[in-house]
């Protein structure tokens, strides 16, 4: 039944494809995006930050990739895992070539993993530290790679296969210090774009479409990333075709929403602003005291007043509601001064001298410094006001993020307001009040370690839920808000922007996923192109192939053959 349905869908798709015959060759399509210098986009010279990775990912491919819903095959068309998740076999696409025309083989993949692991002393650590899990890698034939891990790694497909860019052996084998190799060959990859020009000083990148890309020809001929002083201004002046906005920048977004020339999509930032408590110092080491403060803080007011509604109330368990690991229904400590006052009274912090400030049982005023990074001084000031209403006096002390981090790491604080991103994945839960490290709970730590290697998704999710629940109850941090992010774009230039599931690669919440440069399923009517993502998705549905759960399916190869047949047909029809 299901099979039939899918065939019908496919038929409809093909028919609609015929309906809209491809248009004649048009002028060069150029897309300009807000950018900035993030380094030479070789896998070893981009700046170790999200946007840098994105720039590199346009040139270099990984074995797997992600769309807005799931993990999808990329250089590897399929895979399986064995031995409790410690052995992974990946089957490569057939006719993939490097930009210089050399074929991409399993040896390149083997070389890449070994090469990067050998050079891990240089500052490549961040994106590739997962290679520490790799025991060894083999290439039994041209198109098959076998990775053996030391421990099970549930996030293998995203953090390992979906993150490490494959580099050509014939170029890198003689390069001894990859971080200083910036010859033109260093940016020969297999990806949808080739680097045409890069200007470090001015932060400009010019990419040209790779006409021979194994997934098809990108929708734009040239992609330009450039540094602009003020994105909103540059966007409205037409200097760029897309820019992203964040949190309180919602006011700019609203301006563009009202403008028919622009379209806006919103996504999760995987970012959280939180109140961090020092769980080692009196009185913030008392859970009830932390809870009282949580009740005293009105997160809604912060969002309305400071962020202008450009954020959502945060999950008290830290992980972002749009993350697949999110646990709903945790206590949210909605603003309630009565409860807060009761808790404080019970702890014996009572205002005896009537000055509006509670005193410790020792008689001293209940008074702290509220540390904050410069950027969040306004949030901190509002919290200061809110806490004053429940008799806690705080003085806001703002400083640079670096200084704040240093102070938090030393543990020299009571309460601080600070934020960070990356909350799509559970590995961030290791030290919940990061960058502080004052929360110690043995049960919590052991659950964390357990989930790290748990291969069963349901079981792992349960463990992660336990972690979130503990945080929400114990409150080593009280999360405040998750800002929203927006992409404002000119749909005439490109209108396929979307937000990737749990962020690109290891969780970069940026709308620039290289998939946007290819047609999508729903767009087929418009210009006759079909997104190969949808094709593989349909094919996978036909073949009941789920890369994550059915990795070890015995009939897998047969199913893949079916997929190949459909895919080939589509290629013949010129739709991919």
């Amino acid at each position: 039944m299901r099979k039939l349905l899918v065939f019908l869908m496919l038929a409809a798709l093909l028919a609609s494809g015929f309906a809209g015959m491809p248009a004649a060759a048009e002028d060069k399509k150029v897309l300009k995006i807000e950018g900035g210098d993030y380094g030479y986009p070789s896998p070893f010279t981009f700046y170790s930050r999200g946007p840098g990775y994105i720039r590199m990912s346009l040139i270099f491919d990984t074995l797997t990739w992600k769309d807005d819903e799931e993990i999808i095959p990329w250089l590897a068309k399929s895979w399986k895992s064995e031995n409790g998740g410690t052995k992974w076999t990946l089957y490569l696409e057939d006719d993939v070539r490097w930009h210089d025309g050399e074929p991409l083989t399993a040896d390149d993949v083997k070389f890449t993993y070994e090469y990067i692991k050998d050079h891990s002393g240089s500052p490549l650590f961040k994106w590739f530290s997962v290679l520490n899990y790799m025991d060894h890698v083999e290439a039994p034939n041209d198109r098959t790679v076998v990775v053996t891990l030391t421990d099970p790694l549930p996030s293998f497909l995203t953090d390992f296969a979906g993150c490490i860019p494959i580099i050509p052996e014939h170029i890198w084998k003689d390069v001894s210090d990859p971080t200083r190799f910036t010859d033109p060959e260093a940016v020969i990859g297999s990806g949808p774009f080739k680097l045409a020009e890069y200007n470090k000083a001015e932060g400009y990148y010019l990419y040209e479409a790779n006409e021979d890309y194994f997934k098809g020809v990108p929708l734009v001929d040239e992609l330009i990333l450039l540094e602009v002083g003020d994105p909103a201004l540059a966007l409205s002046a037409g200097e760029i075709d897309e820019a992203s906005f964040w949190g309180s920048e919602i006011d700019a977004v609203e301006t563009f929403e009202a403008d028919p020339n622009f379209e806006v999509i919103s996504g999760p930032s995987f970012w959280v602003l939180k109140t961090i408590f020092n769980c080692e110092k009196y009185p913030t080491n008392i859970p009830d005291f932390r809870r009282a403060i949580a009740y005293g803080i009105d997160r809604g007011e912060i969002i309305d007043q400071v962020v202008h509604g450009g954020a959502i109330v945060a999950n008290t368990g830290i992980l972002h509601p749009d993350s697949s690991w999110y646990m709903p229904g945790l206590p949210d400590y909605a603003k309630n001064d009565a409860v807060a006052n009761q808790l404080l009274d019970d702890l014996g912090f009572i205002d005896t001298d009537g000055d509006g400030i509670r005193e410790y049982p020792s008689g001293e005023d209940l008074e702290f410094e509220l540390l904050t990074g410069d950027r969040f001084a306004r949030e901190a000031e509002l919290i200061q006001e809110q806490l004053e209403a429940i008799g806690i006096k705080t003085t806001v002390k703002a400083m640079s993020t670096k200084t704040l981090d240093a102070i938090l790491k030393e543990g020299n604080f009571y309460i601080a307001v600070s934020g960070h991103g990356g909350i799509a994945n559970p590995n961030l839960l290791e030290t919940p009040n990061w960058p502080g490290d004052t929360y110690h709970n043995d049960t919590y730590d052991s659950i964390f370690l357990e989930q790290e290697t748990e291969m069963n998704h349901a079981k792992r999710k349960d463990l992660v839920n336990q972690l979130q629940k503990t945080i929400a109850n114990d409150l080593p941090v009280y999360t405040l808000y998750h800002p929203l992010i927006w992409s404002v774009y000119n749909p005439d230039k490109l209108d396929r922007w979307f937000y990737t599931l749990n962020g690109v690669a290891t969780g970069i919440p940026i709308e620039m996923n290289k998939l946007i440069f290819f047609a999508r399923f729903g767009d087929a009517n418009e210009d006759g192109d079909i997104d190969m993502r949808d094709v593989t998705k349909i094919a996978r549905m036909i073949c009941w192939l789920d890369p994550e759960t059915d990795a070890a399916d015995a009939n897998r190869d047969d199913k893949l053959n079916v997929l190949d047949i459909i895919y080939t047909e589509l290629i013949i029809l010129g739709r991919v």
Partner: protein, 326 residues
């Protein structure tokens, strides 16, 4: 002999500057490694274990004793190796020199213009001492000089970039423009330079103007001006041949000091106009705690200023025969 002491003094200043550059970042809180562990653009923390941190520390030589770091630092500077930028993941010297040309262009052009203009206006003002023109010039120059450069820059963006839309609002060139000729390229660079340079010129012009005016007023009261007048020279000839050269003398030293101010001013102007110069780089380096880059940018700025001082001293020697032959 005189030259020799001067040069020794300069070498000493450079040495001290290098030492301060070395010591300053190391006295500040915050581990440089910290800056590697989170991502200011996405705010994504990376939790590293101590082993990896150690590896990175040793990679950057941060695990060695301070004295050894210092000698290494000196040696590297002599080799023109300013270290490896943690943030930009590239040699510091390379990062700086790519941006340096823009700052030099911006500061150089502005300095040239505001010096000539300021000196000219100052001379005119002093000449017309007490008259309406002098007062008008004085008040206008002092007023425009009271604008913080970033504020004027913002107003310029709104006025010329947004309302009138006649000048570009960011960058130093039109990205990926294919120039048909060198002249075209020149025009494009100039076009991008006009707003930032005007900002710097206008906010700096009060310095040379006032100096020239004062200096000129002083000179005009000198006996040799009376002599010149007693010779029957025209007012213009007196101004041109007798007054300006003398009045310029004390200003040459100031040009150098102003050069330092200009580079500082460039930090603001480059930030507001997103001009890819060393001023913006310095600010970025500071905010990312990129020690090697910070040291490098700082050192280069210091060296430029010292070089400007040196040139000014030499110019003074050249201009003033009393020092040259004395």
């Amino acid at each position: 002999m005189h030259h020799l002491t001067k040069i020794t003094a300069y070498i000493l200043i450079i040495f001290v500057a290098i030492s301060i550059n070395f010591a300053l970042p190391r006295m500040m809180p915050g581990d440089p490694i910290t800056s590697l562990t989170d991502d200011p653009t996405t705010g994504m923390p990376v939790i590293m274990d101590e082993d990896i941190k150690e590896e990175i520390r040793s990679y950057y030589g941060l695990d060695k004793p301070i004295s050894e770091q210092y000698t290494d630092y000196l040696k590297d500077i002599l080799k023109c190796d300013l270290g490896w930028s943690i943030y930009y993941n590239a040699p510091v010297a390379e990062v700086i020199f790519e941006r340096l040309k823009w700052t030099l262009l911006l500061v150089g052009t502005s300095t040239l213009i505001y010096m000539i203009l300021g000196i000219f206006l100052g001379a005119v003002s002093a000449w017309k001492r007490g008259e309406r023109g002098d007062l008008g010039l004085l008040v206008s120059v002092l007023s425009i000089g009271s604008f913080p450069s970033f504020f004027l820059a913002m107003l310029f963006i709104i006025l010329f970039g947004v309302k009138l839309d006649i000048f570009p609002i960011f960058g130093a060139t039109t990205p990926f423009m294919e120039y048909s000729s060198t002249f075209d390229a020149f025009k494009d660079v100039l076009y991008h330079l006009i707003l930032p340079a005007s900002t710097l010129v206008l906010t700096s012009i009060d310095g040379p103007y006032l100096l020239m005016r004062n200096s000129m007023l002083g000179v005009l009261g000198e006996d040799y001006i009376v002599t010149a007048r007693a010779k029957g020279l025209t007012e213009w000839a007196i101004l041109k041949d007798h007054a300006i050269k003398n009045a310029l003398l004390p200003i040459t030293t100031v040009i150098a000091i102003r050069m330092g101010f200009m580079i500082s001013g460039a930090i603001f102007v480059e930030t507001v106009f997103a001009y890819p110069g060393i001023g913006k780089l310095l600010y970025d380096a500071v905010s990312f705690s990129d020690y090697p880059l910070l040291q490098g940018a700082f050192l280069i700025i210091t060296l430029i200023i010292i070089a400007a001082n040196f040139i000014a001293d030499m110019t003074y020697l050249y201009l003033d025969p009393r020092v040259k032959h004395g």
